[in-house]
Amino acid sequence: MASFSRRGQGRFQRYEFPYVDFHGRSYPLIPLTLKKGKFQVNTFALLDSGASISVFRPEIARALHIRPRREEAARLDTAAGGVDIGIAAVEILVEKTRFASKIGFSATYAANFNILGREGFFHRFNICFNEKHHTTVLTPISADRS
């Protein structure tokens, strides 16, 4: 087992986010900032442990002046059929935790929320969904411990 390091960001730091209710249901939404070059957007995204990749609404890509790379495309299976997703490198900021990641965008598919999937996000935090108290707790994992 790796020894615990006192270095790195986030020691003892935890972020707790209450679930957000819409239309009678509760959702684990978290606030974050997406940055691409000189452009940035503060928004919310749904933590979805059942999603492999993150997919944000196409309007967010346009706001960041992103043209997703088709050569790094993915295929997303939805209830309505397959959707092509372009991948873009962005910087993500959650509270004081900042890291580079990749987000999928589609010109044709817009989920109800921006979706944060496992790849590129879940390995940055210990994530606890508390369904009893309707909270999500994120504990940053330092880069030197991963």
């Binding site: 957000v20 209710d21 978290i30 503060n42 609404r57 346009r62 929320f113």
Partner: protein, 75 residues
């Protein structure tokens, strides 16, 4: 434990925001809803004229139709 003020504000006001279903909302915890529009692009252009610190958040408020669960009990 840190709880961001925007999340607290959103939790307190999400029911109120449902009237903006299908639109984008620009808001801050201090000032509440600043603007709403169906177009995020248009909203962000208008937001440039707003002096708000810290920088406000944008959220697409889902409509009830969009929120149907992937799996649910048949009723």
């Amino acid at each position: 434990m840190a709880v961001m003020s925007e999340t607290k504000w959103l939790c307190r006001n999400s029911r109120e925001l449902e009237k903006f279903s299908g639109q984008w909302v620009l808001f801050s915890a201090e000032e509440g809803v600043l603007r709403c529009d169906a177009s995020l692009e248009k909203l962000l252009v208008e937001a440039k004229g707003i002096r708000s610190r810290p920088r406000p958040f944008v959220l697409h408020v889902p409509s009830k139709k969009e929120m149907s669960p992937r799996w649910s009990w048949q009723r």
